[in-house]
Point group: C2
């Protein structure tokens, strides 16, 4: 009987393993070998699905953002306004133990994207989706009377997006400065002033 291989499944399995490997060690000359070890497939199998660094980085980025976006969507059911904004930010920020590992994958992808317009567009599509979510939730916050008078929503999205990206970088490069407590304190300092002061 011929061996039946589910290519999509195998591809996803390798992408997941690649995300783990790059999370741990960054991308380096041993990356492909480590992925082969992690999956248990022969070295050639990973190479067949991901023949170069470029294809590997795209696959890990997509694996990782699909994961983040799925978690976000699950939590966003029935949520709106500043609570929903909080969910989006907490999924993007490197708050979990494996946060800085994921941030390392993103950093490798970003670096690669900076020189390749086609990869840059993959990043931008995802980033614009996140910005659009934040924007929508800020408008909802205004509708619901949660938002302080005079908040500039587009500039606020800019500031939150920059801060989230900055914390991802910081978690990789200055891990001692990127504890959960410090990230959440800086994040709160950005979000709390948006809130309308309590009446009374």
């Amino acid at each position: 009987m011929p061996k039946i291989v589910d290519h999509a499944e195998r591809r996803a399995h390798i992408a997941a393993a690649a995300t783990n490997v790059i999370s741990r060690s960054g991308i380096n000359p041993h990356t492909m070998r480590e992925i082969a070890e992690e999956t248990g497939y022969a070295h050639g199998a990973s190479r067949r699905y991901f023949p170069n660094k470029r294809s590997l980085l795209i696959a890990t980025f997509e694996h990782l953002t699909a994961d983040v976006n799925a978690r976000m969507q699950r939590q966003l059911v029935g949520m709106r306004g500043l609570d929903a904004l909080e969910i989006v930010c907490r999924e993007i920020l490197p708050l979990e133990d494996k946060g800085s590992g994921h941030a390392r994958v993103l950093l490798a992808f970003w670096e690669h994207a900076s020189g390749e317009p086609e990869i840059l567009r993959i990043h931008q599509a995802n980033n614009l989706r996140w910005r659009e979510l934040m924007r929508r939730f800020l408008f909802e916050a205004r509708e619901d009377g949660e938002l302080r008078h005079g908040v500039d929503i587009d500039r606020t999205v800019d500031a939150i997006a920059a801060s989230n990206a900055g914390w991802l970088v910081t978690s990789v490069l200055m891990p001692a400065a990127a504890t959960r407590e410090r990230i959440l304190a800086a994040h709160a300092a950005l979000i709390d002033p948006l809130r309308k002061p309590m009446a009374g």
Copy 2:
């Protein structure tokens, strides 16, 4: 007469050219050739000074930060408090035309640093110097009565450092979102609330 080569000068010249090349095109398989073209030296000369990507990235990072730090120091003479903090941030943020080019060099260096403890220390030493400057100027602002009551200086340094790093990334990956005007608006939203409200 034997040809006398000033090695330090030539090294600095190549590092400057490398910074320009990586600013324009990121780091890629053509980088060494483009550096040779930009310097006018033979390909072998650049290779001799910078035999690999690692040495090249360290040299461009050091060239670039030495430049930023020198400009900072010149402007900081006689300055203190929030005005001095502003000078530091404006030199780090990608506000100039070549800002996103420099940010691209940083991004390449960061990605490389994420996998190499020795390179990471070079980044961390510079980053801690910048954080220490911000911290000092915030304490001066408190001494001088510029600072709003209750500002947490260490958490403020965290937030500013994350925002600065985030804007560097944004200028490379989302250039349309990282105009001078938008960067300065987000930066002001971070700094203005630190200021003690005017009496009266």
